[in-house]
Structure formats: C-alpha cells, structure tokens
Symmetry: C2
Subunit: 120 residues, 2 copies
C-alpha cells in the first residue's frame, strides 16, 4: 500500500497548520486509495518519523514525502535529507522517497499568479 506525507515547516500558532489539514482532506477526497499524513520539521507534531511509523502500522510499504515549502533553503537541502535518512534507517523495508518542494512546480506558481491577479 502507498502513502504520501505532506511535510511542512511547523509554527507555534496552531492555526498555521490549517492549510496542511485542508490539503490532507482534499487528498483523501480525491485519492482515497493512497493514504496521507501531514508531518512537520519542527515545533508541530507529528514529526516525519512519527508519520512514517503511523503509516507502517496501517500496512503502508511505499511512502513519498512532498515538501510543502516554497523555497529550497537550508531546511530542505540540509535538515530534510538527514531526517529522511534517519527514517530509512528506522524502517529499512519501507520504500521512502521525496519530491521537490511544491514551490518548484510551475502549475503551483501559476495558481499563485492567478490568485494575485484576482486582487481588486
């Protein structure tokens, strides 16, 4: 069974995670056969490895992590690969991969342009 993890930065204000929960709901509505979890780099729970643990308990064997970040800075270039490697060591039988940050995707950027163009 496959799953994706929507991976964000995390913040102190609990309302910060609302778009992430909305993304997970959209995913479940549209892609019910592939499980989804959210996970956060810092401050918020669950951590990436906690989300992987939760998915493996549900029988998932293949997980793709989607970084919900605009830019690819130190968090994604340095912290994230280390976290991913730590999860791989903990779950050697799970196929764990990652996409680019969503901010690298032209269609995501175009949706932001279209949103900005709706400005009065």
């Amino acid at each position: 069974m496959k799953a994706i993890i929507l991976f964000g930065h995390g913040a102190r204000d609990p309302r910060w995670r609302e778009p992430f929960d909305r993304l997970a709901t959209l995913w479940r509505d549209q892609h019910a056969r592939t499980l989804v979890e959210v996970a956060f780099l810092e401050i918020m729970k669950p951590s990436l490895c906690d989300a992987v643990t939760s998915l493996t308990i549900q029988g998932v064997t293949q997980i793709t992590v989607v970084p919900i970040f605009f830019g690819q800075g130190s968090h994604l270039r340095n912290d994230f690969p280390k976290l991913l490697e730590a999860c791989r060591e903990k779950f050697p039988k799970i196929i764990l991969s990652a996409t680019h940050a969503v901010g690298e995707d032209l269609a995501v950027l175009q949706a932001i342009i279209d949103f900005s163009a709706k400005v009065p």
Copy 2:
C-alpha cells in the same frame, strides 16, 4: 499606477528565493501593466518598506501585498500588520492593502494536490 508585492519569509540560502523571482517573472510576462516587486520579512532584501519605496519612485500609487506563505501564524498575524502599518505611516498617500496568504486559496491548494498526485 498599480503594483503588487510578493512578500515572503526570507532565508539564509540565496537559492531559497528562486521561486519568488520566478513568480515575479511570470507576473511580468502575464500582467505587464501592474508592476511587481518581491520583498521579505527577514534575512533577505528588500524589506517590505524598501519595496514600497522603490515602487513609489516609479510612480505607483496603489499597492497590494500578496503574502507568499502557506500558513497564517505569528508572522502574518502579528509581524506583518505592524510592518504594513509602518509602511502606511511612511507613505500616507499610497493605497496599501494586503490579501490573505496564498495558502488560503483553494486553487493553490488544488495545484499542490495535483503536483502530489504526479508522484510515481
């Protein structure tokens, strides 16, 4: 003359800003009549007020700031309104408004879902 400012968090790694520069290029290609600048909350330049200054010099009288953030946490709920107010005090003749964070927009979230669904 109108303008928009694409307002992001900022980061130490200069490559972090690439999606912001790409957004500005897309905007210029598609909406040439409305000027665009990027601006950052911290670490990166220009600041919000510096971007407003640059636009006023070019004759802009109406500016909308688009926060390129997913979640609305302390940065957008506390820091950003104060920054916006400081810019308004500095430029009382400029009409300065702001949209919600782009992560609040359903079409942006859907584009992220579609990107995630392209995962092999």
